[in-house]
Amino acid sequence: MSKSTKNQIMTALAELLQAKRLDDITVTELVEKCGISRQAFYYHFSDLYGVVDYGIQILLDELGAARPEEWRTAMERTLTLLREHRTLVLNVYRAYERSYVESHVRRWAAPLVEARTRLAARGYGVTEDQIGFMTDLLTQGLASIVLSWVEQGMPSSVIERMDDFDILVGGCLDYTLERLAQKNKK
């Protein structure tokens, strides 16, 4: 029963979000729409934000783990999917502190960027610490691009921008890895 109730709640919230903002929706209103009790809602979620978190997690799970070689397509798939759920995403963006949204974006971006970094770093004599440092910086870069994009209302043009970002990352990594390896030898 539990998974379907959770999904039922999430779907109902997504529908309510078409008409109003998250802050204006109450749990009572949501459970009435679902035809369930308040306690059934609270068995699964602490509050409405919990439903949104769950929704985002489902989206991210849908994307699945990408292989490092496919990271460019993985980014594009994510952005396309986020655009399809534009109302939900924009609501989250408005309802939460920016730092909270950023943490979600980074949670998605970090493993992707790390895999990409590790792929590029093969054969170079660089330390774990240095890989971590590069991953952090590039994750921040990707997260800011995504956040600014959401802020601008999620225009489709960003998909092309991803090509440029891919080139930038590739160049950065090659150059930096080379220099770090040289430095480490000394």
Partner: protein, 463 residues
């Protein structure tokens, strides 16, 4: 005030992060932080801190062992939630809010609220006073939710379920843990309804701690609770231990079981089973069908006094003997001074054992219940005795309860078989008179020699 709380919160989280990073190296240094944090004000508990420092700096000490086991035996997220909800919200932050409310409203404001989600129980134990309530009464989810919401405004973050068997309502309990994720929930339970699925839900919500009732070993537990119950309890403990979930035990001591239930063998077994705390309750002759002969004799109660104090210096287990530990909490904690009890009918009782009330939570706000004549009588009467080994207005000072009930017109809230205060108190008169001499001797001894830390028995043996 809010600003002060953010400072406390930030400081506490930094402290916890520091401990969590390397408990072995940092537990002994904990008191340096706490001392800096507490300052030198009148509410900074200087003696308690000094005593705590003494034990925490010694890795062979039993208290060090108990604290250390929080890192080896308890799930990391559950531990963090416990520190946050119980220590930070329930005490550091909650206490300040409670104190302000005490001053503003001139009444008791509790530290914890005990409530019965239901009078129903899946077992039928011999002589259970809760069973007398019958099994048709329930506080609804919304009612409990409202009690907690009102409680938090007064600084109460600790909620303890009694009953009945609260776990009969297990889905609602999980829902309440989830909704009030900033509170810590404890639950007195017979544990027979704790299964893998429920333990997984406990792990998910992180703020639910069972206090499992046992009567002693298998024979004693099954004798009172029914055949096979002990094995179910052991199974529940195993399930909890596997998932690194914290739990404790609750034991009622009587003239019949006192010796075995307070034996070193039994206490060692509790530690081995994985209990982190053991709460002992003196048998109370409550209800028309009570068996006053089960009340411990003065000699037995003194034995309990000595044993629990000795274990507290040697076992990695947080033991409390509520009737004998009044000295640590200034006597009676009921009547909302530190806690109150709401039964499954909504009646707001001053104590889990004192079922006389003039308020029902379905008719009044929590604050108005605390300002009702019966609760004010507790407020004005506490402590009921200067000797905290005689803390209770019923058991050791029965005239106090007679007087409060007469003065306030509080009614019996026992729905099955209402008992007059006179009937109840008459069962305590003889007990109180008999206990008096021992209580005076222990109290004088314990206090004339200051913080010697010895029991009278040890003291006499030492000459």
């Amino acid at each position: 005030m809010t600003m002060m709380n953010s400072v406390k919160r930030a400081g506490f989280r930094a402290l916890y992060g520091y401990l969590d990073k390397d408990p072995d190296a940092n537990i002994p240094k904990l008191m340096d932080w706490v001392d800096r944090f507490a300052g030198n004000g009148p509410n900074s508990f200087p003696t308690q801190r000094a005593a705590f420092r003494k034990v925490i700096e010694n890795p062979d000490n039993n208290w060090y062992g108990l604290i250390r086991s929080m890192w080896t035996d308890i799930d990391g997220e559950v531990r963090k939630t416990f520190f946050e909800n119980f220590m930070l919200n329930g005490n550091l932050i909650g206490w300040t809010v409670q104190e302000e409310a005490r001053e503003r409203y001139g009444c008791n404001i509790p530290w914890a609220i005990l409530l019965d989600p239901t009078s129903a129980c899946n077992l039928h134990c011999t002589g259970c006073w809760a069973a007398e309530y019958g099994n048709k009464l329930n506080l609804t989810f919304d009612e409990i939710d409202s009690i907690i919401t009102q409680g938090k405004k007064l600084g109460v973050y600790i909620y303890i379920y009694t009953g009945g068997e609260p776990m009969v309502r297990k889905n609602d309990l999980i829902a309440l843990c989830n909704k009030h994720s900033d509170c810590e929930f404890l639950c007195f339970t017979n544990a027979t309804l704790i299964d893998e699925d429920f333990a997984d839900q406990m792990l998910r919500v992180k703020n639910f701690v069972p206090a499992i009732s046992v009567e002693g070993f298998e024979e004693a537990t099954d004798g009172r609770r029914g055949t096979g119950v002990f094995q179910k309890v052991r199974r529940a403990m195993e399930i909890l231990k596997q998932r690194k979930l914290p739990f404790g035990t609750s034991c009622c001591y009587t003239s019949a079981n006192l010796d075995s239930i307070s034996s070193e063998e039994f206490v060692d077994r509790l530690v081995e089973w994985g209990a982190k705390f053991a709460w002992y309750f003196h048998y109370m002759p409550v209800g028309n069908d009570a068996a006053p002969e089960l009340m411990p004799s003065p000699e037995q109660r003194e034995q309990m006094y000595g044993r629990i104090r000795a274990y507290r210096k040697s076992k990695p287990l947080f033991l409390i003997d509520f009737q004998n530990d009044g000295e640590y909490v200034g006597g009676c904690i009921a009547g909302g001074r530190r806690y109150l009890h709401i039964n499954a009918n909504g009646d707001v009782d001053p104590c889990v054992f004192v079922h006389y009330s003039d308020s029902n939570i379905r008719e009044k706000s929590l604050l108005d219940c605390l300002r009702s004549p019966m609760f004010i009588a507790y407020h004005d009467g506490q402590p009921f005795n200067e000797n905290h080994l005689k803390p209770c207005p019923m058991l050791e000072n029965p005239d106090k309860l007679r007087e409060m009930v007469a003065k306030t017109g509080a009614q019996s809230t026992d729905l099955q078989s209402p008992e007059t205060a006179e009937h109840l108190c008459a069962k305590c008169d003889g007990y109180a008179a008999a206990w008096d001499e021992t209580a005076e001797r222990l109290w004088t001894c314990g206090h004339s020699c200051g913080q010697c830390g010895q029991t009278c028995e040890e003291h006499r043996q030492a000459g």
